[in-house]
C-alpha cells in the first residue's frame, strides 16, 4: 500500500517507538513566542538543564505587543515583563530572537515562512495552535502546550501518537469574490468545529494546486478550527519558487539536493485515508460566521439556521446560547446589518496578498463613517512591502488605520480590543465569546468581505461591489 504525504514525513522523523505507546518524533524547527514559553524556560532551569538544540529554535514577540509606538517601552506592566523575560531567556540560552524593533519581527506563523525557516518535509512545532499554518509547505506542523515546549527544549523530540488521516479534495475553480478564507470557512461549516478532531488533514485537488502559497497558508492555518491536529498540502513548483532565495533557505548545490528530495513529497496514488471528502469549488460563496465557534458559518446570502431545523436538543441550546451572545435571531439574514469594526490581520490573513486584496477593493474609496478599520500587518516585512507598493497611502486615503505587526485584535491580549456588544467583521480565525475583548461580537470573513463592510458600514456581499 502506498504512503501518504503525512506518512512519508512522519516516517522520516521517528527516532523510536515505545511498545504500546507513542512514537518519539524528532522536531526540525521549534518556534517560540513570549506567552507560552516562560514556564517552559523556568522548568528547564529548575531541572538545571541547558536547551538541547538552541540553534533549531526561532523566537519572536507577537501575542502581547502593542501595534502603536513599538519603539517605546510597553505600557502594560505585565506585557512588558513577559516580553522582557523572552529577551532574557533567549539571551541566556543562545536562541535567535526577532523581538520588538527587529526588522524580522512579526507574527510567528508569518515570519517562519517569510524567512524560509519553514521548508517542505520538516516537522515544526510551536506553543500556538495555529502552527498548522506551516503545513502549506508540506510539513508536519502542529501546536503544542507549554509542557511540550519544555520537552522540545529538553530533547528536540515529542512523544506523539500517530493521528488518523483525512484528505479533503477541492476540485474546480473558485467563483469571483471567493478566496482561500472562504474555502476553509466553508469546510469548517460543513464538518463542524470538532469534525476533524483526531485527524491530520491533507488538502488536495485542482483548486488547492491553483492557490498561491499565502492562500494555502490561510487554509492550513484554520485546520485547528475543525479540531484537526494539523493540515498540509503537497509541495510543488509554487512552493519551491516561494522558498527559493529566502534567508534560511538552502542555496547553491544544497538547494538542488533539497529540491529533488522535496519532489518526492506527495501522496502515492494507492495510499488510503481514514476519511476522504470532496468539495466542488464552484459551490463555495463568500462566507461569514454568525455564532461563537468557527463551525457556525454560512454563505453570506444564507440565513442563520432556524431552531426548528435542528433535531438535537444540545445543538438547539448551543445555537440559542451563541445567538444570545451575538445579539442575533435564528433564521435571520446578516446582509445589511450594521457593523462598527473591521479588523484585517492575524496569522490567518495579514500577509501582503491579503493587504493587496483589500487595497484592490478600497483604492480611491472611503470607509463608511460609522466603522473603525484596523489593518495590522503580519510582520515588519509585510509592512515594508505595503509601503513600497503604496498600499499605505490607499489605506490612509480610505480612512483605515495601518498599525505595526503583531497578533493584535485577533485575541485582544494588547490594547486592540472590540468594545462589548459591538460587531466586528474580522479576518482572524476565532469568533469565540470574548475573543476580541469581553462581550465583543466577532463575525469571521475573508479580507474581501471585511473590506466590503469597511466601505458600506454593513455586512455586504462583496460581489455586489465587484465590477
Amino acid at each position: 500500500m502506498g504512503l501518504t504525504l503525512f506518512d512519508k514525513i512522519w516516517n522520516e522523523h521517528v527516532v523510536q517507538e515505545i511498545p504500546d505507546g507513542p512514537s518519539v518524533l524528532y522536531i526540525d524547527r521549534h518556534l517560540i513566542h513570549e506567552v507560552t514559553s516562560p514556564q517552559a524556560f523556568r522548568g528547564m532551569e529548575k531541572r538545571g538543564l541547558p536547551i538541547f538544540r538552541p540553534q533549531q529554535i526561532v523566537a519572536t514577540a507577537d501575542h502581547n505587543v502593542p501595534t502603536l509606538n513599538q519603539h517605546l517601552p510597553i505600557r502594560d506592566e505585565l506585557s512588558r515583563m513577559q516580553v522582557q523575560e523572552l529577551i532574557k531567556n533567549c539571551a541566556n540560552h543562545g536562541i535567535e530572537l526577532y523581538g520588538l524593533g527587529h526588522p524580522n519581527q512579526g507574527i510567528v506563523h508569518v515570519i517562519g515562512p517569510e524567512l524560509g525557516v519553514t521548508q517542505p518535509g520538516m516537522t515544526i512545532v510551536c506553543g500556538d495552535s495555529h502552527t498548522s499554518t506551516h503545513g502549506a509547505f508540506g510539513t508536519i506542523a502542529f501546536g503544542i502546550g507549554t509542557s511540550e515546549v519544555e520537552m522540545v527544549f529538553a530533547s528536540q523530540c515529542l512523544l506523539q501518537t500517530k493521528p488518523r488521516q483525512m484528505r479533503i479534495n477541492i476540485e474546480g475553480e473558485l467563483m469571483p469574490g471567493v478566496v482561500a478564507k472562504d474555502i476553509i470557512l466553508y469546510i469548517i461549516a460543513k464538518i463542524s468545529a470538532g469534525g476533524a478532531t483526531g485527524y491530520f488533514v491533507e488538502y488536495a485537488g485542482s483548486a488547492i494546486r491553483n492557490l498561491s502559497m499565502e492562500a494555502r497558508m490561510t487554509i492550513c492555518n484554520m485546520s485547528i478550527e475543525m479540531g484537526a491536529r494539523g493540515g498540509l498540502i503537497a509541495p510543488d513548483a509554487t512552493t519551491f519558487q516561494y522558498v527559493k532565495g529566502r534567508p534560511f533557505a538552502p542555496a547553491g548545490d544544497a538547494w538542488e539536493q533539497q529540491q529533488s528530495k522535496w519532489k518526492e513529497l506527495y501522496t502515492d496514488q494507492d495510499a488510503v485515508f481514514d476519511l476522504e471528502l470532496k468539495i466542488q469549488a464552484e459551490h463555495i460563496e463568500p462566507m461569514i460566521t454568525y455564532g461563537t465557534n468557527p463551525g457556525m458559518g454560512m454563505s453570506i446570502t444564507q440565513s442563520i439556521p432556524s431552531l426548528e431545523s435542528l433535531t438535537n436538543e444540545a445543538e438547539k441550546n448551543n445555537l440559542k446560547k451563541s445567538l444570545t451572545y451575538m445579539g442575533l435571531q435564528a433564521g435571520q439574514s446578516l446582509l445589511g446589518m450594521p457593523v462598527q469594526h473591521v479588523f484585517i490581520g492575524s496569522c490567518t490573513n495579514s500577509r501582503i496578498e491579503d493587504l493587496r486584496l483589500v487595497a484592490s477593493l478600497v483604492k480611491g474609496k472611503k470607509k463608511h463613517a460609522d466603522v473603525q478599520v484596523l489593518i495590522v500587518p503580519g510582520s515588519q516585512e509585510v509592512a515594508r512591502q505595503a509601503r513600497q507598493e503604496g498600499l499605505d497611502i490607499i489605506f490612509s486615503d480610505a480612512g483605515f488605520e495601518l498599525r505595526q505587526a503583531g497578533c493584535s485584535a485577533c485575541l485582544g491580549m494588547n490594547e486592540d480590543k472590540v468594545p462589548a456588544g459591538e460587531y466586528c467583521i474580522s479576518t482572524s480565525n476565532r469568533n469565540f465569546e470574548g475573543r476580541q475583548g469581553a462581550g465583543a461580537r466577532t463575525m469571521l470573513a475573508s479580507p474581501l468581505t471585511a473590506a466590503a463592510a469597511a466601505l458600506t458600514g454593513k455586512v455586504t456581499d462583496v460581489r455586489s461591489l465587484l465590477s
Binding site: G21, V35, D76, E150, Q156, L159, M413, G434
Partner: protein
C-alpha cells in the same frame, strides 16, 4: 508530577458543547510567567459580571454552592481552540483532577495529561446519564481499571487511555524524564540524518 490512581468525588455539571480554552481562561490572563494561581480566573467571564468578583453570575455552576467536587463534566469537544496550557493549569489550580466529556480537543487532552488532570472520554448516553444525576451523587474513576462509575446507579463505562500515559499517570512520571533518558538515541538519530 503527582501520581493519580483514583478519584471518588461529587462532580460539577457544565452541559455546554464546544467549550473553548478562551472560555476556560481568557487571553488577558496569559501574561503570567509562572504556572500558579490561574484557578481564580477559571471560566472568568462566565463566572463574574463585568469582570468583577463582587458580582458573581448566580446561574453559573461554579457559583452554586450545592455543586462541587474534583470532577468537571462537560459537553462534547471540550478544550477546543487555543493551545494554551493555562487552561489545564486553571482547572488543576481550581481543584479539578478529571474532566469528563464525550470527546476532547487533541491539544487540550495532551496538556491535561501532562499536568496530571485526567480527560475521561465517555459515550453520549453515559454523559447524559451523569447530567441526570443529583448534585450529591458521586463518580468513581479508577485509572488502573480504566473505569468510570456513577456510584448511585452503578452504571459503569470503560474509558480509553494510552498504556504509556496510564503508566505515567499511575506513577507520576512525566515525558520529559523519559525523553532526557533517551538523549543518546536522539543524538544517534541526528547523526544518521546528515
Amino acid at each position: 508530577m503527582e501520581s493519580l490512581k483514583e478519584i471518588r468525588s461529587r462532580f460539577v455539571p457544565l452541559p455546554v458543547e464546544n467549550i473553548d480554552t478562551d472560555q476556560i481562561i481568557p487571553a488577558r490572563f496569559l501574561k503570567a510567567t509562572t504556572r500558579d494561581g490561574f484557578g481564580k480566573n477559571l471560566f472568568r467571564d462566565w463566572r463574574y459580571m463585568n469582570n468583577d468578583e463582587q458580582q458573581p453570575i448566580q446561574s453559573f455552576i461554579l457559583n452554586q454552592q450545592h455543586h462541587g467536587g474534583e470532577i468537571l463534566v462537560a459537553g462534547k469537544n471540550f478544550g477546543c481552540g487555543s493551545s494554551r496550557e493555562h487552561a489545564a493549569w486553571a482547572l488543576k489550580d481550581y481543584g479539578f483532577k478529571a474532566v469528563v466529556s464525550s470527546f476532547f480537543a487533541d491539544i487540550f487532552k495532551n496538556n491535561a495529561l501532562n499536568n496530571g488532570v485526567l480527560p475521561v472520554k465517555v459515550s453520549d448516553a453515559f454523559l447524559a446519564g451523569i447530567f441526570s444525576l443529583d448534585a450529591d451523587d458521586q463518580l468513581h474513576i479508577d485509572v488502573a481499571a480504566q473505569t468510570i462509575t456513577q456510584v448511585s446507579t452503578g452504571a459503569q463505562e470503560i474509558f480509553d487511555i494510552n498504556p504509556y500515559k496510564k503508566t505515567c499517570l499511575l506513577n507520576g512520571y512525566d515525558d520529559i524524564d523519559y525523553l532526557i533518558s533517551i538523549r543518546p538515541a536522539i543524538e544517534q538519530f541526528e547523526a544518521s540524518r546528515i
